[in-house]
Amino acid sequence: MRIGKALLYTILVLYAIVTMIPFLWALSSSFKTLEEIVSGSIRFIPENFTLDNYKQIFIEQELFPRWFMNSVIIAVTVTILNLMFNSMAGYALARLHFRGKQTIFMIILAVLMIPAQVTMIPNYLILKQLGWLNSYQGMIVPAMINATFIFMMRQFFINFPKELEEAAALDGLSRIGTFFRIVLPLARPALAAQAIFVFMGSWNDFMRPLIILSDPNLFTLPLGLNSFKGQYISYWNYIMAASMVFTMPVLLIYAFFNRYFIKGISFTGGK
């Protein structure tokens, strides 16, 4: 039994090391001088610890703050709209009776099966026609609902106690009033999990901005990082510093809300 436990701990610790090393290595490289980077040293503690890289990236590439803002604006708007619209759709599909309900629900399920590559080319042409390439709305509007989370919210509202809504109806609240004042506030755990995933998806998205945005002023962080890498390909100290700066916000969110992450995943895992 004790040998078994030791073995389990060995697996856990080894895998924790395997997980941490790339991050620690990137962090340590971001504090190194270019000479140390070029020398191919494998010390995890920098020989000449320096903060210059963090200053220098903002001088070399003055668009970094701009990219950061773009990512924040797009990710926050997409998240807020998704929370509203997915819950509204999920509630209608779970609780209301109307013609066409089954059809709409089947379409949403079918959408889950269709790979994004099929719609990516026509979407580009549609956005082009609307004049929405290189714009925030081009990034936001097509992403403001999500079939997975509509489905998840529907499952959530199906199990929601009916009595609360009936009481609200007796008090003279309309269906929509009940939804916004009574139901939505009680759906907070499901909304928190959803918010995190939608935000992360938008924050980390690479392909859609790559297609929709070509003006460097409108780049999001992943695109900006990629183009920065193209310009400074052997300056790994800069690239790692930039990577670290832009990973921090997500890690901070995670530090505070990590229980919702786990909950959210088990949610999407068909529970």
Binding site: S29, I114, I121, N204, F246, V250
Partner: protein, 296 residues
């Protein structure tokens, strides 16, 4: 039948559904129909857009396209190695974490880090580690193992992406397994113990069969994700799929034909449909063989 109350309820429902229906029509259903149209046309995007009907040419062209074959082969290899490996790794990690050891929470938080980090950042970190004079080669040399030109050698470049992505996606699926493991009733293990089962027997004869539906879900999610490999290949190769097409995936090829060369947008749409069919077939086969009712 058509009472006012029912009309009112339908009105409420459609009001609540209106943003969803708007996006579905304009950016999902419309585009699917448009994609079908595109796949039968030669599309020119100089100035305005012009469409010339070409019948099945775009589909038959796939069969003669050497790069399409390479992309399909690379993608298939990638799927065949990454999906089973990440699924097994996720299961082993979840079972280890679930053994009731102290510090479970700490390990869970650490393991989850790669899932949070953007694919762009992870790819850049790994490109730096895969550098010829980089950390990975130093570690390999330390253990007396052969070193590689990970980014430049066509025979290993795709493996480099596989290793990175197994590392970064396994923890996500581990959390799904973990949630399911916590639902396994203790009585099952107690019964097995009475029958004289050791730890390994319990894992193999109780845990694994109990988790079958979850495994099915994890494999399907894995299939869908791996068939669509794009970000990592794009960043690794600067968009080219190199060295020597070694990291060219189907989605990268679709991207190149659609947006980086002239007059091949219709062909790219046809390729996208071919990919969609391959993914549907793969998930359907998986379901058929796992013989479990779906989770959706």
């Amino acid at each position: 039948m058509f009472s006012r109350k029912r009309w009112k309820e339908a009105g409420t429902a459609y009001t609540l559904l209106s943003p969803t229906l708007f996006v579905l029509l304009l950016f999902v259903i419309g585009p699917i129909l448009f994609a079908i149209y595109l796949s039968f046309h030669k599309v020119q995007l100089l100035g305005g857009a012009s469409f010339q009907f070409v019948g099945f040419d775009n589909f038959t062209r796939i069969l003669d396209d050497t790069r399409a074959k390479i992309a399909l082969w690379n993608t298939a290899k990638y799927v065949a190695i990454v999906v089973p490996t990440q699924t097994m790794l996720a299961l082993v990690l979840a079972a280890t974490l679930n053994a009731g050891l102290k510090g479970e929470k700490f390990f869970r938080i650490v393991y989850f880090l790669p899932t949070l980090t953007s694919s762009a950042v992870l790819t850049l970190i790994f490109m730096w580690m895969y550098n010829q004079n980089g950390l990975v080669n130093h570690v390999l040399a330390f253990f007396g193992l052969p070193t590689y030109n990970w980014l430049g050698d066509p025979s290993v470049a795709l493996n480099a992406i596989m290793i990175m992505n197994i590392w970064s996606t396994a923890p996500f699926f581990m959390v799904i397994y973990l949630a399911a493991l916590q639902d396994i009733p203790d009585s099952l293990y107690e019964a097995a113990e009475l029958d004289g089962a050791n730890a390994w027997h319990k894992f193999w004869y109780v845990t694994v069969p109990y988790l079958r539906p979850v495994t099915s879900f994890v494999v399907i999610m894995g299939l869908i994700g791996t068939f669509q490999l794009f970000d990592q290949s794009y960043i690794f190769s600067g968009g080219s799929g190199g060295p020597n097409n070694a990291t060219l995936t189907v989605v990268l090829l679709i991207y190149q034909y659609a947006f980086k060369s002239l007059g091949t947008m219709g062909y790219a749409a046809a390729l996208a449909f071919a990919l969609a069919i391959v993914i549907l077939l793969a998930t359907w086969l998986q379901r058929k063989f796992s013989k479990e009712e779906s989770l959706y």
